[in-house]
């Protein structure tokens, strides 16, 4: 059975800070087109280890949230949760005002400025980070 191809996550132009400063995503930098060539794309396997710049993320839908056709993504370590949320929302064509939440351990929502690399260090296993995502209204 063919393995699901790993897809690349387009990286916004802004530089990724090392833990300080505001989130690295500014509204409007991510392209609305479906991911194609973009700056980050491992077609082949990268050697595992600390030098790996990207980490593998497996996205799983929760509740009534649409399931993404591509679930496995290679993402730069410095990508923030907010960046990932924006990406998934665009990919799923959600309205900008709909909220999307991402969870680690299926139960905890990391703050929007948290970097996926850190999450991978804390919660990754078997070479990947499993994140659940859920669409909902949070308030109002």
């Amino acid at each position: 059975m063919a393995e699901e191809p790993e897809a690349a996550l387009p990286l916004p132009a802004s530089g990724a800070a090392d833990g300080e400063g505001p989130a690295d995503v500014s509204p409007g930098t991510a392209t609305p087109e479906p991911p194609s060539s973009a700056a980050v794309s491992p077609g082949t396997e990268e050697p595992a280890g600390d030098t790996k710049k990207k980490i593998d993320i497996l996205l799983k839908a929760v509740g009534d949230t649409p399931i993404m056709k591509t679930k496995k993504w290679a993402v730069e370590r410095t990508r923030t949760i907010q960046g990932l949320i924006d990406f998934i929302k665009k990919f799923l064509k959600l309205v900008a005002s709909e909220q999307l939440f991402i969870y680690v351990n299926q139960s905890f929502a990391p703050s929007p400025d948290q970097e996926v690399g850190t999450l991978y260090e804390c919660f990754g296993s078997d070479g990947k980070l499993v994140l659940h995502y859920c669409k909902s209204q949070a308030w109002g």
Partner: protein, 216 residues
């Protein structure tokens, strides 16, 4: 109610106790407070933030920094006012106070908060909205009065801002259902606060996520 366990006040207090246990382990500053004349209680945390968003860090908190990416908040070590003023210099320091209470009518936890400058001047609702994280601003602009309102604190009787709880069940249910499927124990308060906190500048360190799943 469905198969979800009934989230009554006792359950609320239980999860808060577990939450605070972990908070104490990592020095995150949450406390339990009760009012003198009734058994109701709530969780409370105070933190200070420099208004222009400068990172403030203190010695001895490196463990916390590792788990918490954006250190906008000054950890609430016992600062005396002069120390804070020095750090502030030409900028403003804001004191944020967060309270987690139980709502009998909605049967869910509710986040109350207020913010003031060090001289006691409270922040306006407009200031609060400006402080809301970028990724929630769109939703907030669409229905500001549905989202953050000002109400009297049920126990203290003072005006606080409140994150409206009416949709809490809606976003908590899928999370709880999902983790119950795999028999993972979830601390409701931890999950809930991790979701709503960032809207108003309250970010939980990642270690809470591990602690919640370890509690049997």
């Amino acid at each position: 109610m469905e198969e979800d366990e009934f989230f009554g006040e006792k359950t609320f207090q239980h999860y808060c106790a577990e939450f605070i246990k972990h908070s104490q382990q990592i020095g995150d500053g949450w406390e339990w407070r009760t009012s003198k004349d009734c058994s109701d209680g709530y969780m409370c945390k105070i933190h200070f933030q420099i208004k222009n968003g400068t990172v403030v860090s203190h010695p001895g908190t490196s463990a916390h920094v590792q788990t918490c990416l954006l250190m906008e908040e000054a950890l609430e070590l016992p600062l005396d006012d002069s120390e804070v003023t020095e750090a502030a210099a030409a900028t403003e320091v804001i004191k944020y106070e967060y309270h987690v209470l139980y709502s009998c009518s909605y049967q869910v936890p509710v986040l109350y908060f207020r913010a003031s400058f060090l001289d006691g001047r409270p922040l306006s609702l407009k200031d609060i909205w400006e402080g809301v994280h970028e990724c929630y601003k769109m939703r907030l602009q669409q229905g500001p009065w549905d989202t953050i309102t000002q109400q009297e604190h049920p126990i203290l009787g003072q005006p606080f801002f409140v994150l409206h709880p009416c949709k809490t069940n809606e976003f908590m249910t899928p999370v709880l259902k999902n983790s119950r499927k795999i028999n993972r124990n979830v601390n409701y308060i931890t999950s809930w606060l991790s979701i709503v906190g960032p809207v108003v500048g309250l970010n939980l360190p990642l270690s809470y996520a591990r602690a919640a799943s370890q509690n049997e």
